[in-house]
């Protein structure tokens, strides 16, 4: 297990997990969310290629109501 920083909080993930695994674990609807990995946006199609390492910073965002 290792610690990543997910949306500003500490989060434990399995060694070798990818962004895709993370999104699955969180049970998030893959449409309409976006993922930033160490300040780079990762297109949905490449989530499976990005393996997480200790200390990585991940932002998972969605679209909400706003003006």
């Amino acid at each position: 297990m290792m610690n990543v920083r997910l949306n500003g909080q500490q989060h434990l993930v399995d060694d070798g997990a990818t962004l895709s695994d993370l999104v699955s674990l969180l049970k998030l609807d893959r449409d309409w969310i976006a993922v930033e990995f160490n300040q780079d946006v990762i297109p949905r199609a490449r989530w499976g290629e990005v393996s997480l390492k200790e200390g990585d910073k991940i932002e998972v965002v969605q679209l909400v109501g706003g003006g």
């Binding site: 949306n7 930033e36 679209l63 109501g65």
Partner: protein, 259 residues
């Protein structure tokens, strides 16, 4: 009904010139009804972290028919160029739209833009292929610069966001309009229907609003009012109003009176 050109923003075409925010409604159902009744074809959305502690429940997008409404993600809440740029990129990744309502806020009390940061962020995003619609102040110099660097529209505020003060400085707006080759869309400050009409009568290409509708006592009815007001103001602009005069001119014949 009148034959009007669609509003072109970059590659996009819109029949309705009203752009609506999706924030601050009492419920998603209310928002959905308001969107419908207003006749809008483009709605703004914000980008926010998924709250991992909350069971997600319903999502905004369950209530927005994407066949009917185009999404215009914003960078609301961003106070730096970097935040705004990152947020715009996330929005594109999430929403599959290349459009962004670019906000770089300069102050939390007025929510006026940081225009220098705005220009910098706009440059970056234009280069990355975004269709950038910047929320700006009503300064003609800034508006021109935003156009020059490739923004697809300029969106000057009528008054502070959520203030409902209406068009505080029609003079600046007129100058911006006379010098712009891209659509000028009034963004923020509209409080009631006549404010929207007035923006369109000045020659604006569109109006973007949120609080004026969501904060009304009856948001759905106000949405309808705003949709009508946009059409009214646009038609009046195209119809060419009478000049203003100090004295009167009779509308009934002056001759053939009885005596």
């Amino acid at each position: 009904m009148m034959n009007d050109q669609p509003l072109k923003i970059g590659d996009h075409e819109l029949k309705s010139r009203l752009i609506l925010g999706t924030g601050k409604y009492a419920s998603y159902e209310q928002m959905q009804l308001a969107l419908e009744r207003s006749g809008t074809e483009m709605v703004t959305v914000a980008v926010r972290r998924i709250n991992l502690d909350r069971t997600s429940g319903e999502s905004l997008l369950d209530y927005i028919d994407l066949k009917r409404y185009r999404l215009l993600p914003n960078t609301a809440g961003c106070y730096t160029v970097e935040e705004a740029v990152r947020t715009a990129r996330l929005a594109r990744a999430a929403g599959m739209s290349d459009m962004v309502k670019l906000e770089v806020i300069g102050d939390e009390n007025t929510l006026f833009p940081d225009t220098a940061g705005l220009i910098e962020a706009a440059k970056i995003l234009v280069k990355e292929g975004f269709t950038v619609l910047p929320y700006t102040n009503d300064d003609p110099v800034i508006a021109k610069r935003l156009e020059d660097i490739g923004c697809a529209a300029v969106m000057p505020l009528a008054a502070p966001i959520g203030s409902g003060l209406g068009i505080r400085n029609p003079y600046n707006l007129r100058i911006i309009l006379e010098n712009a080759a891209v659509p000028v869309i009034v963004d923020a400050g509209v409080g009631t229907a006549s404010d929207a009409s007035r923006a369109m009568e000045l020659g604006c290409a569109g109006v973007l609003m949120n609080s004026g509708i969501a904060g009304a006592k009856d948001p759905v009815l106000m949405a309808e009012a705003m949709g009508l007001a946009m059409a009214a103001g646009r038609a009046a602009y195209l119809a060419g109003r009478i000049p203003k005069k100090l004295y009167a001119t009779a509308s009934s014949p002056l001759n053939d009176l009885i005596d």
